[in-house]
């Protein structure tokens, strides 16, 4: 799937999996594509659904969730990543001050090693205690 087909295929796929509303759809696709640009091979596609399906284990989901939220792929969720996440999530409804506050607070909460960004282990620790991560982080085909 490359080029123009891709775009159309995308549209179809988004609709198909009912994710057109998902603010992170681009991130999801990028995360699962091998080239990191959002071009999915069939394998990637299968991969995506195997990770996001209902029965996949929490660990796997955590890994991919981390990747999805790690916008700049530096293996850390830094404030910038958080800001992007928030903006996508709220579609820009929050004021910049609020966003900054939330970012700071989030990092303060989950950052265990004090490097003011979230490593995977921080993230995992946080997620493992989240009550509805498992139930929320999957898609239906």
């Amino acid at each position: 799937m490359r080029g123009n087909d891709l775009k159309q295929a995308w549209q179809r796929m988004y609709t198909m999996i009912g994710k057109e509303e998902n603010p992170f759809r681009d991130r999801i696709v990028e995360t699962f594509s091998e080239d990191g640009l959002g071009n999915l091979s069939f394998n990637d596609f299968v991969d995506m659904f195997s990770a996001l399906c209902e029965t996949s284990p929490r660990e796997l989901k955590t890994i991919y969730a981390f990747k999805i939220y790690d916008f700049n792929r530096d293996s850390f969720i830094c404030k910038e990543d958080l800001r992007k996440t928030l903006n996508k999530l709220t579609k820009g409804d929050l004021t910049p001050e609020e966003v900054t506050l939330v970012c700071d607070k989030s990092i303060e909460e989950a950052d265990l090693d004090g490097d003011s960004k979230l490593s995977f282990s921080d993230f995992e620790n946080m997620i493992s205690k989240a009550p509805d991560f498992l139930s929320n982080f999957h898609v239906r085909i």
Partner: protein, 1134 residues
């Protein structure tokens, strides 16, 4: 010492071989799933396999390993291509070697495969038959998991009701229908003549009278014959037992479900709250696909975040408290008033209907149904009223939701209870009417009657008796004139008249007062009316409103969709509560109306379709999201509460009231439960009744009760202590976290002081990069060989390495693999693993056990030290390269020569605990004794600990790599000089610790590596002249596991340092390369679980001090181990 350790190891091994085996399996599985492995490593595996395949045990291990790979491949975050490749390889290996091993094993696997496929197909088929699965999934994908949780709950209730229906249907209703006396044969089964005419009227049917009343629907219909049918089915006994079984089953299934849920959700265990993080990362429900749902979800998320912000800000300031408090008090008063009002209304209505019944022969439709209508109306209206009131309170939405739920629950309970109490009052009057009447006549005054009644028939309270007499009188006189005082006079004066009237009434009531049937009727009626109201409210409030909003919004002056009426929200919490209430009614009435569960099944089916339709067409999800997974248990807890409270009235009725004389299976008995004692007395052998009498005597019951209490107390005490330890561990974690931060700074400072290191490192990194990329071990090895050799010769002589001794033993076992020497350290630490772990296995495989060990030890460290120490350092066992194999002899050689042992386990950052060294010195032997302990601990931990480990591991994250890694890479082996200089530099720089400098130096190095997250580094203690070289490779395992994003892994790879092994020349290098490869492999795999650290220990320092230091080191480690043990134990308990 080595012998001692050996023996200890041996004994421990033999003692707990089986246990260990299990734990290892578990371990390895977890580990496998956690770390990653590259295709290349697999290739190696294969090659190794080929060479090693002669050993069946080994082969078996290998196959097991491959199978585990296959089983867990799903859980690894690899791209699909790699998964496929690895899977294929693993399959090939399994196929190839399994066949070779034994025929049967091959068949077994083939059979297992087939079974798996079949079960998968079956599962797919079964899913088709799960009721409403598709529907629920559809809802879920539109509205998210919150709304779906309601439907899942509904379906679950449906399942329960199905079972209840089957129970009652199969054991009560069917036998009665098939074998019981047919309709019209006995008095309790015939409709009285005066009612026959109206028996088929619609309103009679509607109020469940007439034919319905005399049918299997209700208690009264069932015959009292002890045995029915040719088979002698004991219907009354069955009735009683099933009635109890309904409750028992409900309890069991509920509790089981709750236990399962709580096991699933870790959240309940910890109080830790990541308010913001959760709101950011877990807020979005990936299932949502409907634009409107998405919009409202988005809005909800924004609201949530804003709330959190406000909350955060409000922590600092408080607003006008007085107003708020007074408002809240007002709100609560309002709520209480409305609760009291609703209860009073229900009571009043029941009372009124009772009086009306007495007064008028014919009741209107309204009069017949007013009780249930009123109750249903209240249950519908009051929650909305509460919601309005709740707005007064200005609580945080979540709190207000909780308040709301609690209030609604209380309301529902109040309704049910006032209803049931009112009914029982009526029951009192009904059942007392018959037996009491003779006594009443004889007594001239009703006052006397009240006293005599308890004697005659033992009925409840004085009050109720009075009311009874009242009502009897009222049949004669008008209601208005009824007063207790007057009562007596009236009854005494007009006794004759009274008597006749009463007699009439009695004859009529001979049939009528089947209070059980009456209660059953009321409950069923209530359930029906409730259903009607639900349907009506869905249609009116949701559907019509939706229509209006959608189609009239254009021709209205304001926006209907977003302003006033809006679309109906789907209030998950309220709806769930309603379900619970509904189920409560069923439980309450099931004993008196065996078909109630069946009716409920129908009702739930209808509700399912109607609700799901309504949700999909005209609802939007509630803004205030009720957390699904947490709420699951919340729902269940409420349901449990409801069940308990609904069971009480039935129990009371069974225990306290006398069953009706002329209807029902228990007629003629004094109490309902007499059926049991009667059966025991009549139908069981004599000894059984004797036993029963003993068992039920106080002699047995009291001690049993006492025992139960003690048990409860004990369990509670344990729970409390566990909580306590839990808290302590958390505190520890926190303090260590802060310490950790300090350490980071220190390390950073240290780095700055040794800039050269960075320079050195770079080339290393590149190399390592290459190696890791390729994952081929071999390339780097030759180069290193050359450099290493110099070191090697001196090193090997001087050292006495305990690990080596062990390795030798190992080697013996294993037919002398070259790897033995390196590997041996692992063995020392993990004696148990040995048997399992065939040396020949591939690097990865061999590593696994080690990892497990690593985890454990790490934890132990963690217990005391907290996050820092969490990495476990285990000497690396060494990977086995073919090249190495030739060198096998060497380890043995060592063995002979050098008895001394060095077990080096270094937690990172030893510096922190300099004082300890003094302590340690006295116990040089320590490490060995501690080992068996460790292994035991491992097992324990494996079982219990999984969770803990995770959390611990997390804390331990590496600092930013970029800062740290620079100094960390030293080249010791290859470039001795630069190395030395560097070491010096560092040394001087860090000189703070004075006397312990040397030790510290080592530690520093270690720290660096450890801090780095480190990539494999070999830890070598190089002694200059003597060159005591202890090379141990450690696997540091961060329990936390998984992962890092690929970028991370890349880093890690970069750091992998090719280290030269200063052991025997060839073997050393080989092992080195092998270990490198393995490390790189593992690191490539993005899972963090597996962090290999190879520490370099360099002692360039004084030879004289060396021995002492070594001793110290050992002692330190030993000390650590010991200390950690205790901690571990605690941990494992938790």
């Amino acid at each position: 010492m080595s012998t001692v350790s050996e023996s200890l190891v041996g004994s421990s091994r033999s003692l707990s071989a089986a246990k260990r085996h299990k734990s290892i399996r578990k371990n390895s599985r977890r580990i496998y799933s956690a770390y990653q492995e590259q295709g290349s490593s697999d290739d190696e595996d294969k090659q190794d396999e080929r060479v090693d395949s002669n050993d069946p045990e080994e082969m078996f291990q290998n196959i097991q390993y491959q199978k585990e790979i296959i089983a867990n491949i799903r859980t690894r975050p690899w791209p699909m291509r790699r998964k496929l490749k690895v899977l294929k390889q693993a399959r090939e290996i399994v196929l190839r070697y399994e066949g070779r091993l034994t025929r049967t094993r091959g068949y077994q696997t083939a059979g297992a495969d087939l079974l798996k496929k079949v079960s998968r197909v079956l599962y797919n088929v079964v899913v088709l038959f799960i009721p409403w699965e598709v529907r629920i999934k559809k809802i879920e994908s539109h509205f998210g998991s919150g709304v779906a949780s309601y439907f899942i709950f509904l379906r679950w209730l449906f399942g329960i009701n199905i079972v209840l229906t089957i129970m009652t249907g199969a054991f009560i209703v069917l036998p009665e229908l098939l074998a019981g006396a047919p309709f019209g044969t006995t008095r309790s089964k015939t409709i009285p003549k005066e009612h026959l005419a109206s028996a088929q009227d619609l309103d009679t049917i509607w109020s469940l009278g007439g034919y319905l009343q005399y049918s299997v629907l209700f208690y009264g219909y069932y015959g009292r014959l002890r045995k029915i049918g040719s088979a002698g089915y004991r219907l009354p006994l069955a009735y009683f037992l099933v009635g109890m079984a309904v409750f028992a089953y409900s309890f069991i299934i509920l509790l089981r479900k709750m236990a399962k849920n709580s096991r699933l959700s870790l959240a309940s265990a910890s109080d830790e709250n990541f308010t913001f993080c959760w709101r950011v990362f877990c807020a979005w429900d990936y299932l949502i696909g409907n634009p409107e749902a998405a919009e409202s979800k988005g809005a909800a998320i924004v609201n949530n975040i804003r709330e959190a912000i406000v909350e955060e800000q409000e922590k600092k300031k408080d607003t006008s408290l007085a107003v708020l408090i007074s408002l809240r008090i007002l709100a609560n008063i309002l709520v209480l008033l409305s609760l009291a009002g609703s209860i009073y209304i229900i009571y009043f209505v029941v009372d009124r209907s009772q009086k009306l019944e007495q007064e008028k022969p014919e009741l209107t439709l309204w009069e017949k149904n007013e009780v249930s209508v009123v109750v249903s109306l209240i249950t519908m209206i009051a929650p909305s009223a509460f919601e309005l009131v709740a707005q007064l309170e200005m609580y945080h939405p979540r709190t207000s939701l909780r308040f709301q739920l609690a209030r609604v629950l209380v309301l529902y309970l109040g309704n049910l209870y006032s209803l049931i109490i009112a009914l029982f009052d009526k029951v009192n009057s009904m059942s007392s009417a018959v037996p009491v009447s003779p006594g009443n006549w004889s007594d001239s005054s009703s006052f006397l009657a009240t006293i005599s009644q308890p004697e005659v028939d033992s009925f409840s309270t004085l009050v109720s008796d009075i009311s009874v007499s009242e009502h009897r009188n009222s049949t004669i006189a008008t209601i208005a004139t009824v007063l207790v005082v007057r009562n007596s006079s009236v009854s005494s004066s007009g006794s004759v008249f009274n008597q006749t009237a009463l007699f009439e009434k009695n004859t009529r009531s001979q049939q009528d007062p089947c209070w059980e049937t009456y209660v059953g009727q009321e409950m069923l009626k209530l359930s029906i009316i409730d259903m009607i109201f639900t349907v009506a409210s869905i249609l009116l409030i949701d559907f019509i409103r939706g229509l209006v909003v959608r189609y009239l919004s254009d021709c209205c002056c304001w926006d209907l969709e977003s302003k006033f009426p809006e679309y109906g929200e789907f209030k998950i919490a309220e709806n769930v509560l309603h379900l619970i209430y509904n189920q409560g009614m069923i439980w309450m009435g099931a004993f008196f109306s065996p078909c109630l569960p069946a009716f409920n099944v129908l009702k739930l089916i209808g509700l399912m379709y109607l609700r799901s339709w309504a949700v999909l067409t005209c609802n939007v999800p509630h803004q205030q999201v009720f957390r699904a997974s947490r709420s699951n248990n919340f729902y269940l807890a409420m349901l449990l509460f409801m069940l308990f409270l609904c069971m009480l009235p039935t129990i009371v009725a069974i225990v306290r009231y006398r069953p009706s004389q002329h209807c029902g299976p228990f007629s003629g008995q004094e109490k309902i439960y007499d059926i049991i004692s009667e059966t025991v007395a009549n139908d069981f052998p004599l000894w059984f009744s004797k036993v029963m009498s003993y068992v039920t005597s106080p002699v047995v019951v009291l001690p049993a009760l006492l025992l139960l209490f003690m048990l409860i107390y004990y369990l509670q005490a344990i729970a409390r202590s566990l909580k306590f330890t839990n808290n302590q561990l958390r505190m520890q974690l926190q303090t260590e976290r802060t310490e950790d931060k300090k350490k980071v700074f220190q390390m950073a400072a240290a780095r700055l002081q040794a800039p050269e290191a960075a320079v050195d490192k770079k080339p290393d990194e590149q190399e390592s990069d290459i190696t890791s990329q390729e994952a081929s071990i071999h390339t780097p090895s030759p180069r290193r060989n050359g450099s290493v050799t110099n070191f090697n010769s001196p090193v090997r002589r001087g050292n006495s390495i305990r690990t080596i001794t062990q390795s030798a033993s190992r080697a013996d076992l294993n037919r002398g693999r070259g790897a033995g020497s390196v590997r041996s350290p692992t063995v020392t630490i993990l004696p148990k693993h040995r048997p399992e772990h065939v040396p020949n296995r591939k690097t990865i495989r061999s590593i696994h056990p080690v990892e497990a060990a690593g985890i454990i030890t790490a934890q132990s460290y963690g217990g005391r030290r907290g996050p820092t120490t969490r990495y476990v350092i285990v000497n690396e066992h060494d990977p086995r390269k073919k090249l190495l194999r030739s060198a096998t002899r060497v380890p043995r050689h060592y063995l002979m020569e050098e008895p001394a042992e060095i077990l080096e386990l270094y937690p990172r950052n030893f510096k922190r605990y300099p004082p300890r060294t003094a302590h340690r010195q006295p116990h040089p032997h320590r490490p060995q004794p501690s080992q068996p302990h460790l292994s035991e601990e491992e097992e324990e931990e494996d079982k219990g600990k999984g969770r803990r480990r995770l959390s611990l591991g997390k804390t331990h994250r590496p600092r930013s790599l970029s800062d740290l890694h620079q100094p960390a890479h030293f080249y010791i082996g290859d470039r001795g000089e630069s190395h030395a200089s560097m070491a010096k530099d560092r040394h001087t720089a860090r000189g703070r610790c004075g006397a312990q400098e040397e030790d510290e130096e080592e530690e520093d190095v270690e720290m660096d590596w450890g801090g780095l997250e480190s990539h494999s580094q070999s830890q070598t203690s190089l002694r200059g002249a003597d060159s005591l070289l202890v090379r141990s490779r450690r696997h540091i395992h961060s329990p936390g596991r998984h992962c890092q994003s690929p970028a991370r892994t890349r880093h890690m790879e970069a750091y992998v340092k090719p280290k030269t092994r200063p052991k025997l020349e060839t073997p050393l290098t080989e092992s080195d390369s092998a270990s490198l490869a393995s490390s790189s492999d593992q690191q490539n795999s993005s899972t963090d679980q597996y962090i290999q650290v190879i520490h370099n220990k360099e002692h360039y320092l004084k030879s004289s001090a060396r021995q002492g230091k070594l001793g110290k080191k050992k002692s330190k480690t030993s000390f650590d181990l010991n200390v950690t043990e205790s901690n571990d134990l605690v941990c494992s308990n938790v």
